[in-house]
Amino acid sequence: MTIPAIPRRIDVIRTFKEQGGYVAAVLPIHYPRSLLRAFNILPVEVWGPPGIKARDGAKHLQPYVCSIVHNALSFLQSGGLDITDILIVPHTCDSLQGLGSILLDFVSPKQPVIPIYLPRGKRESDVDFFANELRSIYRQLEAITGHSPTDADLLQSIYREEAADKLLSELHRCRRNLPFSNLAFYRLLRNREHLPAETFMELAQKALAQKVDTTQDGGIPILLSGIVPEPMSLLGAISQMGGVVAADDLACCGRRLYPPGQSDDPFRRIAERILYAPPDPTRGNSIKERLEHLLQLVETSGAKGVIFYEVKFCEPELFDLPQLRQGLQEAGLPSLTIEMDLNDPLSHQALTRLEAFLEMIQ
């Protein structure tokens, strides 16, 4: 069985623009998709991209800034984002906050830059703050596009994204009943990073139609945590060594299973969805919350160990790791950390660690 045919990212962007839409390049991790779509803006996420010559960005960035930020700036400066109309920079971490400032104050790209200030918590006051932040982004998008979507338009866009996220959660939930390899499955999931929700839903439904009753034999189940599974060959390597990703806590995937919102106010509803998503250090969730979440994922997936696959120099992730690993160890769960640079191939050493870890937990 194969995953349904996936349209190429560049084709998706061109088609969307030909139909009169705008395209926003969006940096990681959390942002209001439905708000953008209500303005006929397609968000296309920029996780680096990996494997490019990250030279141009080095002028502005310190060597100890992560490769996602280095690559994004280099990609922008080499014209890779010229096709996009807007740049969205969530203040996910110090590095992205720094990038936002560099773009606004020094690089001045041709596209307007919209920073997003995310609260670090999920109290009522955080929802209020974020809803107001979204109202301010609304006004900026209104000025850029000349459109003024009504509350009804916004809610319609939110419901569509909620439907897409419901299917995304379903894919995560029944991943072991789908006849796809680790690699094929993540290729499918990660289309959510650039496909319009309606196109993604078609793909997801086709994939879910291939669901079988019995669990596919995939080998030693592991929980994959971290930022982004790049290079994607990591997933092939896990399969080859007899492992299967039974659940994930990846910033680009499992941490973005946004629940439906409750409020009828569109801005509050978007805020609720983002702030009530699975715990993420970049949104200020505590180690306790993260640990509970990981242990719950382990319980439901049967994972025998956790692999933290980290981007080198990623402070929000790396700061949490010692306590997270200790908490897992106390719960009898082995874990492994692999740090990578987005521009490096999967090293022999990383493969050895992975293999040794699978030998250890099998």
Partner: protein, 257 residues
Amino acid sequence: MSKIQALGLDVGSTTVKMVGLDAEGEMAWHFLEQAEPLLENQIARFLERARNVTGPLDGIPLVATGYGRGLVNQATRTVTEITCHARGIYRELGHGGTLVDIGGQDSKVIGISPQGKVIDFTMNDKCAAGTGRFLENTASRLKVSLDRMGPEALSVSDEVSISSTCTVFAESEVISLIAHGVSIASILRGLHRSLVKRMVSMILTVGLTPPLMLSGGVAQNPAIRQMLEEETGQKIILPHYPQLMGACGAALFALDA
């Protein structure tokens, strides 16, 4: 010599080791050489040597480990060096604890359960600091042979502090210290301390569960042993053949087959 029933081949980045076990899992034969660039040829030579000792290898299971394990086409299976080291040392010492293996180009710390299972590990494989190469490079700069480094370092009590953990920078630091008239033995002492401190931070990542065991080529260096004891407050336990633990573990896996 008792009859060899299983073979383990550890293709490391600095040395290649082969061990033959008898039916009881006791070491009946071993062979070690510096690693050569054309590993395939060297592996063929090792197999030839084994054949000379055991006769035809058909039917004798062979497990390969080490960074070049994938090049051993004749292997029945491959197992990582982490798992093999743990298995080898457990068989020899009969208890769990924390194993520090300092090899030529990488080093590892492995937590081993009382039952001999790997429970956690960490590897330093990206940087020469914390590996035998760190000492080797500076030894050649100081014109001291590798086997004299440890005794020389222990011959003085003065110790200079080497601030660079990077091998390349440490070398420049050493040159500048020599230029300032610091004795070679004090420099050597400082270099050993620097390597040991690096190892201790790795040990802390895994967590130190006594006893502390040491393997790898660098285990033969008395200064490393002494300083590791000083820095951790633990007595070091050494196997008979520190360099052969990976190959022994591999051979034990072969014997399971």
